[in-house]
């Protein structure tokens, strides 16, 4: 997983690299569907990838 690029992840879950970047930077809140797809890709629970506090911060930006 350490060699994983944003481009690879984006292709695997069917979004653009800009979307992955925007999520990382907190500029965009993913839908529940996309959040689940990301967590399933990493084979972890959704809470391990996303936390509510982070979401609150991005809501303020939105």
């Amino acid at each position: 997983m350490q060699d994983l690029t944003q481009e690879d992840l984006a292709k695997a879950i069917g979004v653009t690299r800009q979307t992955i970047l925007a999520i990382e930077k907190g500029k965009y809140i993913p839908s529940l569907d996309l959040a689940f797809r990301i967590s399933r890709y990493f084979k972890v629970d959704i809470e391990e990838v996303f936390s509510y506090e982070d979401m609150q911060r991005t809501v303020d930006i939105d």
Binding site: Q6, Q18, E24, K27
Partner: protein
């Protein structure tokens, strides 16, 4: 076909269409432009189907949705405000002057500020302005949702 090539193709087709439009106007042949327009739409649709790197995800859909919604909100207010003003201007109504209504026959009606032709042109101009408004909102929301963010990768 790459996305940028497709955008270039749109530009080229638009310029050619503009030329055909002027030719049609000069020679009073609307059929040529009508056929050209249909051919252009079919050509662009076929080209669009050949674009391979055209990924639309939920973020880009959200940008489009928000930009369209805001454009509509601003546009209909401006358009309706102008249209009401135009109708009032044409009908010389309403008038809150008692003297005017009592001596309506002898009163001198003020000249129209806007002729019906100018009203039509202004409405067309507002429609054109909507395109720029949409582009502006699109840029705003694209920036808001991290379209031009860069990272170390």
């Amino acid at each position: 076909m790459e996305k940028n090539v497709f955008y270039l193709l749109i530009g080229v087709v638009a310029v050619i269409l503009l030329g055909i439009f002027w030719y049609s106007v000069e020679n009073f042949t609307p059929v040529i432009f009508s056929i050209s327009f249909l051919v252009a739409v079919i050509l662009l649709y076929l080209a669009y189907r050949r674009v391979e790197d055209f990924v639309e995800d939920e973020r880009s859909a959200r940008i489009t949705e928000k930009a369209a919604m805001r454009t509509l909100q601003v546009f209909w207010v401006c358009f309706c405000a102008f249209s009401i003003l135009a109708v009032m201007n044409l009908l010389y109504l309403p008038r809150f002057n008692r003297e005017f209504w009592m001596n309506r026959q002898s009163m001198i009606v003020p000249p129209e500020l806007l002729s019906p032709k100018m009203i039509g042109y202004t409405q067309l101009a507002l429609l054109c302005l909507m395109i720029f408004l949409y582009v502006g909102f699109r840029i705003y929301y694209a920036r808001k949702f991290g379209e031009w963010e860069t990272d170390e990768e």
